[in-house]
């Protein structure tokens, strides 16, 4: 019954019978005939950290776009806790429990760190709700709690534009944490970070995965090795290989197209 220990790629295992958090099946999207994602299937277990790697243009970011509804799939299905995501609006997908971090830090420059986090607080998401939203003790406490997790407790009143690049990345991760998603998707969370920031981010990720699954796109192999439970390698829109980092690293196909050089 321990789903986390069962590799999802075991041949013959019927994915429908297992309790996957996310089941992506035969996912395809074509832009004017070019198949950016071509018949991709993979399954993410609860509490799993899955890293997607692959050369540029392999379709990694597109896969995240498809899951969070930013791009509409041409074919295939994305089931999150048994619920089909391809038919939901972006905001409904977020409300179902899927959070997404973008590649470049996507935060609100004109607002303070506190306000940035507050906007992600999962309450008052309708127009009326936002008008009557009260900044009560629950909100303050939660924001302070998350701010200390993301190493920004002392910057709460600072305008977000004055943060360093690494701090901006953390802030966006914090904005996702406040949403408390069950599936957290991170697009290159350590890109452009210093070594020190990178170590802290790995620490942060290891801390926040409790009770949720994380889907990460990353190029930094050292970082991938540190955090990944399993790795999916994409190449030209297709799944090239999947398994533990050890297994993937020694896969001749992966070495040829990606890791070799």
């Amino acid at each position: 019954m321990n789903a986390a220990l069962l590799p999802s790629h075991i041949i013959g295992a019927d994915p429908a019978e297992k309790s996957f958090l996310l089941a992506v099946e035969a996912l395809t999207v074509s832009f004017d005939g070019f198949k950016a994602v071509n018949d991709v299937s993979f399954y993410v277990d609860p509490n799993e950290i899955r890293v997607i790697i692959g050369p540029n243009g392999a379709g990694k970011t597109t896969v995240l776009d498809l899951i969070c509804g930013r791009t509409k799939a041409s074919a295939g299905s994305i089931k999150y806790k048994g619920q089909e995501l391809t038919k939901l609006s972006e905001s409904a997908i977020v409300q179902a429990g899927v959070g997404r971090k973008f590649q470049t830090p996507s935060i609100y420059d004109d607002l303070t760190v506190f306000e940035n986090l507050e906007i992600s607080f999962p309450r008052g998401r309708s127009v009326f709700g936002a008008l009557t939203f009260k900044r009560d003790a629950e909100v303050r406490d939660r924001i302070e709690e998350v701010a200390s997790m993301i190493f920004l407790k002392d910057q709460l009143l600072e305008r977000a534009e004055f943060l360093s690049h690494g701090q901006k990345q953390w802030l966006e991760i914090g904005m996702l944490l406040i949403q408390d998603p069950e599936l957290l998707m991170l697009d290159e969370p350590v890109a452009g970070m210093s070594v020190g920031e990178r170590i802290k981010t790995a620490e942060l990720l290891n801390q926040i995965i409790k009770g949720r699954s994380v889907l990460v796109i990353e190029h930094d192999m050292k970082f991938v090795e540190d955090i990944a439970h399993r790795v999916t390698v994409l190449h030209q829109g297709k799944v090239l290989s999947e398994g533990s980092m050890e297994r993937v690293k020694n896969d001749p196909k992966v070495i040829e197209v990606y890791l070799g050089h």
């Binding site: 972006e90 905001s91 607002l111 506190f114 507050e118 009560d136 302070e144």
Partner: protein, 383 residues
């Protein structure tokens, strides 16, 4: 609902900061005391007319400044508010007794000139003042809601949205001019006399309307301030910056944009209705593209992020317009264009930006010097 008192308050969020109260007090003093004391009845009425435009500029601050939605068709909503009010006033002015020389007495004169013999159905409800007052708010809001929903749900934004609003302004003008018998055509709806029996053409009526207009304006500013201070206000700013981030934080971005657009429309319509009351007529020349763009210039000159700036910008541009167009009528439009370019290039935050950079720091120092121990600790005062 237990408020933890032990915790230090992280981010105090007062309704207005002390300097904003100063701005409000200054505006109230100028509108309610200074101008009525200094100006004669004619000039005061003129300022009252300018102030009606500032409702539009105020809406643009919310919609364009905060929400990043540039509408080049706010004249549509100003015009709708103005026309709806004018319809009521016109019906009251067209009593059977007043219009007995017409071939069909009891209908507005322009209808009679256009061989219309019966009051059209959509004019009939405007015999009621309460209906008219509600319609002044509801009709433009509904119109904006339909436009906003249609555009924003399809993710039409930025320049495309601006062009479409401009097209709507052009269409409405053409419609009004073309449907002379129902709208008064190019001349508009003129010869308005009384509001529920009260003659609005006298100096005393003008003065009263001026103060009513001022009070409404302050009311709208306070409402806009409440919106700005709410989470909705911050979501608008966030959306302007990173629309996708807001969308993927679980918000329906289209609804928030529609709200901002509707609010701007309602403000503009209130301004339009007050225009009709104070000036005594309404015509398509306040609906089309040119007035709509002029209204954007008011907001830009005032500073598109400042609620108070919107009012000052409107007053300044209109004062300049009146002064210069009296002396150099043919040069004025060039002057207006140059002013807009100069503001955008040199002072992107308009008058409010100049005030904030050069005046406010000095004022704050003075205020702090006067009261050595301020009761409210401002976050930025700590440094």
């Amino acid at each position: 609902m237990i408020r933890s008192t032990s915790k230090p308050v992280v981010n105090d969020n007062p309704f207005m900061k002390p300097m904003e109260w100063v701005s409000l007090a200054l505006l109230v003093a100028v509108i309610f005391v200074l101008l009525p004391m200094l100006l004669d009845a004619f000039r005061l009425n003129l300022v009252g007319k300018y102030l009606t435009y500032s409702f539009v500029a105020l809406g643009l601050v919310i919609c364009w400044g905060f929400g990043g939605i540039l509408s080049l068709g706010q004249g549509v909503f100003f015009g709708l508010g103005g026309y709806l009010m004018a319809m009521y006033l016109k019906l009251e002015a067209s009593s059977v007794e007043n219009t007995k020389i017409q071939s069909t007495p009891g209908i507005p004169d322009f209808m009679d000139w256009n061989q219309i013999t019966e009051l059209p159905w959509f004019w009939k409800p405007f015999q009621s003042l309460p209906f008219t007052l509600i319609a002044v708010i509801v009709v433009p809001a509904f119109f904006a809601f339909v436009i906003g929903t249609a555009m924003f749900r399809r993710r039409v934004g930025g320049t495309y949205f601006a062009i479409i609003t401009q097209a709507i302004a052009a269409i409405l003008t053409i419609l009004i001019v073309g449907q002379q018998g129902y709208t008064g055509g190019i001349n508009g709806i003129t010869d308005l006399r009384t509001l529920n029996g009260w003659d609005i053409r006298t100096d005393s009526a003008h003065a009263i309307l001026y103060f009513v207009n001022g009070a409404l304006l302050v009311g709208c500013i306070l409402f806009a301030q409440a919106v700005k201070k709410s989470k909705l206000g911050r979501i608008l700013l966030a959306m302007r910056d990173k629309e996708d981030r807001v969308r993927f934080s679980g918000y329906q971005v289209a609804s928030f944009k529609t709200f901002a657009f509707c609010l701007a429309a309602v403000f503009a319509a209130i301004g339009g209705a007050m225009f009709t009351l104070q000036v005594g007529f309404m015509s398509p020349s306040f609906v089309g593209i040119v007035p709509s763009i002029e209204m954007v210039i008011y907001a830009a000159v005032g500073g598109r992020l400042s609620l108070f700036g919107a009012v000052w910008g409107t007053l300044l541009v209109n004062w300049a317009k009146t002064t210069f167009s009296e002396s150099f009528p043919e040069l004025w439009l060039f002057g207006l264009g140059a002013l807009f370019i100069a503001v955008v290039l040199a002072f992107p935050n308009g008058l409010a930006g100049i005030y904030r950079t050069y005046v406010e720091p000095r004022l704050t120092r003075r205020v702090k010097a006067l009261e050595p121990a301020p009761a409210v600790a401002l976050p930025h005062a700590a440094e």
